[in-house]
Subunit: 339 residues, 2 copies
C-alpha cells in the first residue's frame, strides 16, 4: 500500500450548487497499473471508515490481489482525511460544511482516476455499505467505463427506513447541548455516546446477540463491555461534525438524483450495464436483503448473492472470517468472469 | 367501562428489596363478574400506554366481550396513572422512583384480583408488548389460577438485543442536559424528541416504510409529518422520568427472576401450564418471531401463531384492522377452547 496521497480537485461545484473550494480526496493505492491499463479497481470507503477499514479485503491470494490489480481506495468526503468539516477552513468549516452527496464523491473519484491515473476502464468498483452506494453510483453514471460492480450491504438509494434509523442517531447526538450547533469547543461526548448506543442496536442482528457472539466471538464479557470498550470508542474518535456530514451524505444517497435519470430509480438501475454482484446480508437491519432483491430485479446484468450470516450489517465489515471469505469468493468469481 | 379506580396496596416490598410506600394500581373494568366468578380476564397495559390503549380490543361481539367477560385492565406502574415517578412523593419521586419489575406489577395485580374481587381463577391473561410480558409472568407465577394466556408481540424475558434497543432510546434522552439527572423543571423536550425518533425506527418495519404505509394508511404526507405530528407528541405527552421508569421495567423483564425458577428461563416457561396462544408479528424488530418460537418450544401447552403483517411491532397495537382482526380471532378461539 502507498502512503496516503491527496488529489487536489480545486474548487468543486457540488450537486447542491454550492461551490466548495480546495477540495481534496485522500487515497491510497495497492499494486500497480498494468501496461494495458485495464486492471484498476476502485474500492471506496464506508461510513466512519477510512482506507484502512478496507485493508482486510486486499492481499496476496485474495480476490483483490495487489499482484494482479491496481486497487485505488479513495476516502469518502467527511471522514476526516478527505475534505471534511474538521479540516475545511471557514466559511465551510464545522457545521457550515455543505451537503456532499454520493454523486459528488463519485464524480471526484472519476476525476481522480482519469486525471491522476489516465484510466478509461475499471475492472471493478467494489464497496461495503456507503461504499456499496458509491459502487452503484459508479455503475449508473459511467456504464462505459465500469466493467463490474460489487456492492455489498448497501443500496442504490437510501430507503425511507434507513433514513429513519440515521435520523434517530442524529437526533441522539443533537440532543446534547454541548454540540452547540456544531461549534463545540470540547467534543459532545454524551451526544456521541448516545449516537453510538443507538447505532449499536442496528449494526448487528437480534440473532447475533441472542447467540451471544459479542461474548464468544468478539471476546467481550458483557453487553456493557461491548458498548463501552469496543463500540463507543470507535465513534468518540470521530469529530461530531464529520459524523453528521457523512450521515447527511448517507441520508441523501440516491443514484437516480441526476438529470439523466430524473429521480427515477428504475431508470438509473437499468443504466447499470456492468456485470454486478449484489451481496446483502440476510440479517442486515438497515440494508435488508429484500431491498437488494428489488434493486437486482431492475438491473440488466446483476446477480443477488445473500450473505448467510447472523452478523447483520457488520457481516460486510471483515470482522467475521466466514463472511469475509464469502465476499472474497464472490469477488474472485466476479473478477474471473469475462465481460 | 367503569371510571378509573385505584387499588391501594399500601407499603410494598419490591423485588429489589426496596419498600415503596403507598403503592396504587389504577384500573378500569369492563363487564360484570358472573355468579360462578369464572369469567374474569386480566389485560395489562403496554409501554407508554394506559387502560385506554387497550380499548380497541374490547367490545360487544369481540373476543373480549363485556357481555360475556369481566375484563380488568390494570395500568402498569410508571405510566403516570398507577404509582409512578410523576405522582410519588419524596423520597421516591422523580428519578428516585425505584426499579419496579414485571413481577412486581403482576404480584400487585394478583392482590387486586384476589383482595378486591375475590377471584380464584382467571379465564385469560392477555397483553401486548410489555402487557405480553406480564401475561407470561402471570402464567409462570400462578399456574393454578390462570387458565389461558395470550401474549402478543412480547417475550417472557427481554432479549439482549431488545435491551440494547431500549438502551439507545434511554441514552438519547439522557444526552439532553435539560434532563438534569431527572430533576428537570421544564420537560427535556430535545431529549424526548430524540427518544421518540430513535424509537420510531424500531416500532414499525422496514417494509412498512418501503410500502409507504405511513402515508397511505396513516394519512401522513411525509416522514417528517409522521414523526413530528403523529409520533413525537405521544412521547412528549409523557413525563420523562415515567418513560425511563417503564423502560427500566422492560429492560429487566424476566419471568425466571424468581426463587422458584432460579433464573432458569426453561424452568419458568415449563411452569406455564395455561393454554397459551403466543402471537409475535413476523416483522417485529424487537420481539422477533424467532424469539417466540424458541419460547413456545419450551412451553407445555402453547401454540405459536405469527401475525402475518408488515406493521412491525405496531401490528399488535390495534391500529391496523387486519392485524386487530387476526388477534381478535385468535383470542376468540383460545377462549372457546375448554381447559
Amino acid at each position: 500500500m502507498t502512503d496516503l496521497a491527496h488529489f487536489d480537485a480545486g474548487d468543486v461545484t457540488l450537486q447542491s450548487g454550492v461551490v466548495l473550494p480546495g477540495v481534496r480526496v485522500a487515497y491510497v493505492t495497492h499494486g500497480r497499473l498494468n501496461d494495458a491499463r485495464d486492471n484498476a479497481v476502485v474500492f471506496p470507503t464506508h461510513y466512519s471508515g477510512t482506507h484502512a477499514s478496507n485493508a482486510w479485503a486486499i492481499g496476496p491470494g485474495m480476490a483483490l490481489d495487489p499482484e494482479k490489480y491496481f486497487i485505488i481506495v479513495p476516502n469518502m468526503l467527511g471522514n476526516g482525511l478527505s475534505s471534511s468539516p474538521s479540516n475545511t477552513p471557514a466559511p465551510f468549516d464545522g457545521p457550515r460544511f455543505p451537503l456532499v452527496t454520493v454523486r459528488d464523491n463519485v464524480l471526484l473519484q472519476h476525476r481522480l482516476v482519469t486525471e491522476q491515473f489516465g484510466l478509461t476502464t475499471l475492472a471493478l468498483v467494489a464497496g461495503y455499505s456507503m461504499g456499496a452506494q458509491q459502487a452503484f453510483q459508479w455503475g449508473a453514471l459511467f456504464p462505459d467505463m465500469v466493467q463490474r460492480i460489487a456492492p455489498w450491504c448497501g443500496s442504490a438509494r437510501t430507503s425511507r427506513h434507513n433514513w429513519l434509523f440515521l435520523e434517530g442517531c442524529k437526533c441522539a447526538l443533537l440532543a446534547d447541548a454541548a454540540f452547540a450547533g456544531g461549534d463545540y469547543t470540547v467534543p459532545p461526548v454524551a451526544g456521541i455516546r448516545a449516537f453510538a448506543r443507538v447505532y449499536a442496536g442496528w449494526a448487528w442482528s437480534q440473532t447475533f446477540f441472542r447467540q451471544q457472539l459479542d461474548r464468544d466471538r468478539l471476546g467481550l464479557p458483557s453487553m456493557e463491555a461491548f458498548l463501552s470498550l469496543a463500540w463507543e470508542p470507535s465513534f468518540q474518535a470521530h469529530d461530531a461534525n464529520n459524523l453528521l456530514a457523512m450521515l447527511a451524505t448517507w441520508q441523501a444517497a440516491d443514484i437516480s438524483a441526476d438529470p439523466r435519470f430524473d429521480d427515477d430509480l428504475a431508470v438509473a438501475l437499468a443504466a447499470i450495464s456492468a456485470r454486478a454482484m449484489i451481496m446483502p446480508c440476510r440479517t442486515d437491519l438497515y440494508f435488508p436483503s429484500e431491498d437488494s432483491e428489488i434493486e437486482v430485479a431492475q438491473m440488466p446484468n446483476a446477480e443477488l448473492r445473500v450473505i448467510p450470516s447472523v452478523w447483520g450489517h457488520m457481516a460486510g465489515g471483515g470482522l467475521n472470517p466466514d463472511d469475509a471469505g464469502f465476499i472474497n469468493a464472490a469477488l474472485a468469481q466476479l473478477l474471473a468472469t469475462p465481460v
